[in-house]
């Protein structure tokens, strides 16, 4: 989205939230909290997409990577009796799934969307096939209240009184932005995604760069999966990811392949979801709930149609690199 529109929208939304906060602080805070919570897996998953695509690799398998990691993370935590170990197993599984995509899409130069689709089908099949009942988590994930900051009205309880995964998601977005745009690694990554032949000439190992970026991004998908199973839902069930991996792709595009943009887009999407269910429960007007539930999606489409035209994906995304 173009910067001008993005700022205008952000200011408009913020002002609206503040007005509602003045009218009803409790309700507004809870709806905004809901948005962030809903956004956490979307933020992490969108970062996976951005990291891969900025390197020139489409990752449509985020959904499967998250699902597999959620599965491994949950059963890992339940069997080892440690949430920390479970999280590490989840992240590790995510990296293995990332390496699988990298092997297919980078090393083997497979069609990248096929490679991702394979991961999605495989993950849905395996996690359902090996699902077992009767396991519970050894405890609940700790929350961290940041002193002073948490006392700020509205912003405090929303952003500074959360579980560790939530902070991890926000930090990962900020960090990825810094890495992408302020470091040598970022410059190289972007050049590999925009003009691989030029980077190759200047001595950057295109294949190696892509392989490791996709693998490490898998670790973030693992974190998202671990969040879903260990903190958000507190359990693993079949199909736990419920399409969030695909929504994250939309958010990545919405955020114009920029980590900060995607962070904002994810929170915006969470906000529309929170408002939708609040409208339903408050029953201000008697509209069928299905229409309220459509609202976030319609709003996203309308917004994109208005601000369109300026979102461009990395130039080399989707194309395996062939040396000339």
């Amino acid at each position: 989205m173009s910067a001008k529109w993005a700022y205008a929208l952000a200011i408009l939304i913020s002002v609206t939230i503040v007005i509602f906060y003045v009218l009803d602080p409790t309700k507004t805070t809870s709806v905004v909290s809901f948005s962030l919570r809903y956004a956490v897996p979307l933020i992490l998953a969108a970062m996976v997409g951005i990291m891969c695509e900025r390197s020139g690799v489409i990752n449509i398998g985020i959904e499967g990577q998250m699902l597999m990691s959620a599965f491994a993370g949950f059963f890992g935590a339940a069997l080892t009796g440690s949430l920390l170990l479970g999280t590490m197993i989840g992240v590790g599984t995510g990296m293995i799934m990332g390496a699988m995509l990298a092997t297919g899409a980078v090393t083997w130069k497979m069609d990248q969307i096929i490679a991702g689709t394979i991961i999605n089908i495989l993950a849905a099949g395996l996690t359902s096939f090996f699902y077992a009942q009767g396991f519970t988590l050894p405890g609940i994930t700790p929350t961290l209240r940041i002193p002073v900051l948490a006392d700020i009205p509205l912003i405090g309880p929303v952003f500074f009184d959360n579980g560790l995964f939530t902070y991890a998601a926000i930090v990962s977005a900020l960090l990825l932005w810094v890495l992408l745009f302020k470091t040598v690694w970022g410059l190289r990554t972007r050049s590999v995604g925009e003009k691989p032949s030029a980077s190759d000439t200047s001595g950057i190992g295109v294949q190696k760069m892509r392989f490791w970026n996709v693998t490490i991004a898998g670790g973030l998908a693992g974190l998202a999966g671990a969040y879903l199973a260990l903190e958000a839902a507190g359990t693993f069930e079949r199909g736990l990811t419920a399409g969030r991996g695909f929504t994250a792709l939309a958010i990545m595009i919405f955020g114009a392949w920029n980590p900060i943009g995607a962070l904002a887009a994810a929170i915006f999407f969470g906000l529309t979801q929170g408002v939708a269910s609040q409208l339903q429960t408050d029953a201000v007007v008697d509209i069928p709930p299905q229409f309220v539930n459509m609202l976030p999606y319609i709003l996203t489409i309308v917004l994109l149609a208005i601000v369109s035209g300026r979102i461009k994906p990395p130039a080399a995304v989707g194309r395996p690199y062939e040396k000339d």
């Binding site: 390496a99 090393t107 958000a232 507190g234 419920a242 399409g243």
Partner: protein
């Protein structure tokens, strides 16, 4: 070249190890037959009593109605020395085919689970008059002698749970996180809950939120987020009714500070103290429909040729208080027991209808 294959092999090996790890936990849960081991699925012989169960699109370990019905079939098999087997439906268009597997396999009783399978069951029952059919959650408009619909007045269970919630709330705000309202039993639970709460406490505000129809019963993360939102809006008693989505709400409420003291949750369908142990701390009760018992009873009746045909109303009620026993005052317990008795006797009406 070698390096490429090495990576591929490593990835494949890791996937297999992962699969094997999951499998070690899953082995027992995924064994499908209660009686004879693997091999042919047909009923072993004319003397054997064979029960076949077809799930709705879902699995027999869904911690919800498919599982409860399957447990009932298993209990009936044990009680009668019979044999029980299931098929899990993947595609709703396979209902008839899956029922047909048991018909041609020579089964004596066929249980079909879920109101969506109603039509396929009626058709199969009319075609196979020698086989007894039991349709769980399937209301029978016309009476077919070899088909009994096991139905539940969900609104009564919801009403009783709502009544309890109305008496227990301190903030005068109670909530519910529900599956989609396009599924009648869910709506009956939800509306019954609201009616009961208002009957007990006319000044209370009752918040119901339904998931969108997509993934309505399999989105625990949404259920948890909604529950959290309601908690933050000072709701102190929340009803989670919508398969795994509702379970997500229950687990979230159990994490809240004050859970089991000032904050409570209410489960649905079965006694969720056992199916969602994570929520035990906050779980006041569950609005139960006694599916396992009803299925078992009907199967055993069918065995003796005494299945009534038409509709058989299963029992509903509230599960025991378990860990929150001490938190519920005696006079509340007495009042709720009175309401349940009144609902059963028909002296109290929920006045809930599906529009």
């Amino acid at each position: 070249m070698h390096r490429k294959w090495g990576l591929a092999a490593a990835a494949a090996a890791a996937a297999l190890v992962l699969a094997a790890c999951g499998g070690s936990g899953g082995g027992s849960a995924s064994s499908s037959s209660a009686g004879g081991g693997g091999g042919e699925g047909d009923c072993p012989g004319a003397d054997a009593f064979c029960i076949g169960l077809v799930t709705d699109t879902g699995k027999v370990d869904d911690k919800s109605f498919n599982q409860s019905a399957w447990e009932g079939a298993l209990e009936a098999a044990q009680a009668s020395g019979g044999y029980a087997k299931y098929i899990e439906t993947v595609d709703p268009k396979d209902y008839a085919t899956n029922i047909g597997q048991f018909v041609s396999g020579g089964y004596d009783v066929i249980v079909t689970v879920g109101f969506l399978m109603g039509e396929a069951t009626v058709a199969a029952a009319k075609e196979n008059t020698g086989i007894q059919f039991i349709g769980v959650d399937q209301f029978q408009a016309e009476e077919i002698p070899n088909l009994t619909g096991l139905v539940f007045p969900e609104d009564k269970a919801g009403y009783a749970a709502g009544y309890l919630a109305g008496l227990m709330t301190k903030t005068n705000k109670i909530g519910a996180v529900l599956g989609t309202d396009t599924v009648p039993p869910v709506k009956l639970f939800g509306e019954g809950y609201k009616a009961g709460a208002l009957a007990a406490n006319p000044s209370a505000s009752v918040t119901l939120v339904y998931h969108e129809p997509n993934n309505a019963f399999t989105d625990p993360e949404w259920g948890a987020a909604e529950a959290k939102k309601q908690l933050e809006q000072d709701h102190d008693i929340i009803f989670g009714a919508g398969g795994l989505t509702g379970n997500g709400a229950l687990i979230e409420i159990a994490k809240a500070p004050g859970a089991g003291e000032t904050i409570f949750c209410i489960g649905v369908d079965t006694d969720q103290f056992f199916t969602v142990p994570e929520a035990a701390k906050c779980l006041l009760t569950s609005a139960e429909k006694k599916l396992t018992l009803g299925t078992k009873d009907l199967v055993l009746m069918a065995k003796d040729g005494k299945a009534p045909g038409g509709n058989y109303f299963g029992l509903t009620g509230l599960a025991p208080y378990h860990d929150t026993e001490a938190a519920v005052p005696e006079d509340v317990k007495a009042k709720v027991a009175e309401v349940i008795a009144g609902l059963d006797a028909g002296t109290i009406a929920t006045n809930v209808t599906l529009g």
